[in-house]
């Protein structure tokens, strides 16, 4: 076990973590504004990745246009989902809403398999340059760096959006109290639709990025399941928390996997480490690093 190996684990963890962050960001945006727990977040990522593949490879659209079309498609899909499926569920108990998003995830998964099959597909031409550069003595592929930087950029854009733009402030107000927001002239319906649109776009871009690096297949939705450890760690309703949580989970799962592999000869720790972390956090700090605490007294 060398220092270099450790660094390598951390860096690849950060790259995967940045994708987790993007998906977690999408999850938090929906949760914050609408209190809907979206179990189909990973599927939104998968759909984004496949749609971009369709434009880029199957229809040979140049990348910029393909990305734009993917974003437009994600927006339309999100609006459709919000209007058709989530709006009738307003006021239903949490368990029904969880179930309806699980149903949605099954439908999206099945649609992707039916349209594009189950084989691994690769983006050609590759979007990012393929060279490697040396970072602190560790060779790192340049596409990893790009992926990381772009995710950070997305996170920064949305932090600013929520803090300063009018729509962002309206969304925060809706999250805080829907009735008050409505009486201030904010259209809560429009905010709900907007949060789904933003969330789908962010996840879709995450899908395009990961598709560029690893290629895409129909198990891509697994990214959506990592959203729970990431957001619980960061605090369910915190944008910054989602960003940090994703990165930390990415690094921790990579490190624990590498360490257990070397020292205990135990493989596959990667699949379970995030959930062990999740349980520990829930036990000691249930509202995460930056989440809003709810205090109840009897």
């Amino acid at each position: 076990m060398t220092m270099q190996y450790l660094l390598q684990l951390v860096i690849s963890g950060l790259v995967i973590g940045s994708i987790y962050s993007a998906v977690a960001l999408g999850f938090v945006i929906i949760y914050k504004a609408t209190r809907v727990v979206n179990f189909a977040q990973g599927e939104l990522l998968m759909v984004g990745a496949y749609v971009c593949y369709a434009f880029l490879v199957q229809m040979r659209v140049p990348f910029g246009a393909a990305l734009l079309l993917t974003i437009l498609f994600s927006m339309a899909l999100a609006m459709l989902i919000e209007r058709m499926i989530l709006r009738p569920m307003i006021g239903e108990p949490i368990i029904s809403i969880i179930m309806v998003t699980i149903g949605l995830s099954l439908v999206l998964r099945s649609a992707v398999s039916v349209v594009w099959g189950t084989d691994i597909l690769v983006y050609t031409p590759k979007l990012f340059p393929q060279e490697t550069i040396t970072l602190a003595g560790v060779p790192v592929s340049l596409e990893f760096v790009w992926c990381f930087v772009l995710s950070l950029f997305l996170l920064a854009v949305f932090s600013v959006f929520f803090k300063y733009s009018k729509a962002g402030v309206a969304m925060r107000a809706t999250a805080f109290n829907q009735q008050v927001a409505q009486s201030m002239g904010i259209s809560v319906k429009r905010i709900f639709a907007l949060s789904w649109v933003i969330s789908a776009v962010v996840s879709g871009i995450g899908g395009v990025l990961i598709g560029n690096i690893n290629g895409i297949n129909n198990t891509l939705y697994h990214f959506g399941l990592k959203v729970f450890p990431a957001t619980i760690l960061g605090g369910l309703d915190s944008i910054l928390g989602a960003a940090l949580g994703g990165m930390i989970i990415g690094v921790l799962e990579n490190l624990s996997d590498g360490l257990c592999n070397t020292y205990f000869d135990l493989s596959g720790v990667k699949e379970v480490a995030p959930y062990v972390i999740l349980v520990v956090i829930l036990m000691i700090k249930p509202y995460g690093l930056f989440g809003t605490k709810e205090i109840e007294r009897v």
Binding site: V100, L106, S110, Y275, V276, L282
Partner: protein, 348 residues
């Protein structure tokens, strides 16, 4: 709902599970019908009926936890697995009898449920759902990796039960074991809900702060609910393992948890009868979809390889439609239909 002419003169009468002579006769007739069922139908339908009965046990268990106590669990699939592996280990590896294996499966799973229920002291609603989701993944991982006990990816081959010289090795004889256990457990659950414990569960669900003010120990009843629910899951899992004669980790993945959750939501949360309707519906639905997609496959040849994906999509769509148009579940709809005909044509 009570109607005019429906008088009760004692509390005992009011608390009866089956309140009218007609219902009593109907349930008795239905049980006799289930007893005669193996001699009427083909073996594949008997197999489906057996799977429904096993699912009824699991669904009633989950409904005790989620429907009656209000604790959302996304880990029922893994708890079924704990039961199945426990019984498999006891019967196949230790060589003990099925009659020890199944109760032991219930007890071990109840203990596992209590451990994973501990977060419920601090967590509720969504947070608890996520915690149980984590327990699902952690248990699944243990099933696959703890090779000395679980057999890893090879799984365990398990025997069917026997008493003395008589082996229950046909589906027909095993069906009777499952039927009796399912009937006893459903009856127990229905009775449990009439006791102090059952009412405490419902109080915790309806408003936990009020429940605590009224002297209900929240932690005790939440953990108890996890234990009872997991006991049911453990027994169902053990019976499932013995029915297949084989236990492996992919039989208890997250998909199973989702199917069980769908059972109780579609059937009706907080209703024993609803769990039964839900179990029937969710076991029959995939079989029906398979029939439909194979039929389609003969007329449109290209569709055959898409069948599994299509089935999954239709399954998801049905869950969504149900939740939008029938949010209170089948049990509620059945009640409404009965009420309609009872008062027909003067619905006042």
């Amino acid at each position: 709902m009570h109607y005019c002419g429906d008088y009760r003169t004692s509390y005992e009468k009011d608390m009866e599970i089956l309140q009218t002579p007609v219902t009593k006769a109907f349930v008795a007739a239905f049980f006799l019908f289930l007893l005669a069922w193996p001699f009427v139908v083909k073996s594949e339908f008997l197999w489906i009926t057996m799977q429904i009965l096993i699912a009824v046990i699991g669904a009633v268990g989950l409904n005790i936890l989620t429907g009656f106590t209000g604790q959302i669990s996304l880990g029922q699939g893994a708890f079924l697995g704990v039961g199945a592996y426990t019984s498999a280990y006891i019967t196949a590896k230790m060589g003990l009898s099925f009659w020890i294996g199944v109760p032991a499966a219930g007890v071990v799973t109840a203990l596992a449920g209590m451990i994973f229920g501990i977060p419920s002291l601090r967590l509720k609603g969504l947070y608890l759902a996520i915690a149980t989701l984590a327990s699902q993944f952690i248990l699944e991982w243990i099933f696959l990796r703890w090779e000395p006990v679980t057999g890893g990816s090879f799984g365990i081959v398990v025997p069917r039960p026997s008493i003395g010289g008589f082996a229950f090795d046909t589906d027909r004889s095993y069906y009777y074991i499952v039927l009796v256990i399912a009937a006893v457990m459903v009856l127990f659950a229905a009775n449990l809900m009439r006791t102090r414990t059952g009412r405490a569960f419902m109080a915790v669900r309806d408003h936990y702060i009020s429940a605590e003010i009224m002297g209900i120990n929240l932690f005790k009843y939440r953990i108890l609910s996890f234990a009872v629910s997991s006991f049911y899951a453990g027994v169902a899992g053990a019976l499932y393992g013995h029915s297949l004669r084989y236990v492996s980790s992919e039989q208890f993945n997250i998909g199973v948890s989702i199917v069980y959750l769908a059972m109780i939501i579609i059937g009706g949360l907080g209703s024993i009868l609803g769990s039964i309707y839900g179990a029937v519906f969710m076991i029959l639905l995939p079989k029906l979809l398979t029939v439909v997609t194979t039929q389609l496959g003969t007329s449109f040849p290209g569709i055959a390889e898409l069948a599994i994906a299509l089935e999954q999509g239709i399954f998801g769509a049905i869950i969504i439609l149900f939740l939008i148009f029938e949010p209170d579940g089948l049990a509620h709809r059945w009640k409404m239909i009965k009420a309609y005909w009872k008062l027909y044509p003067f619905s006042y």
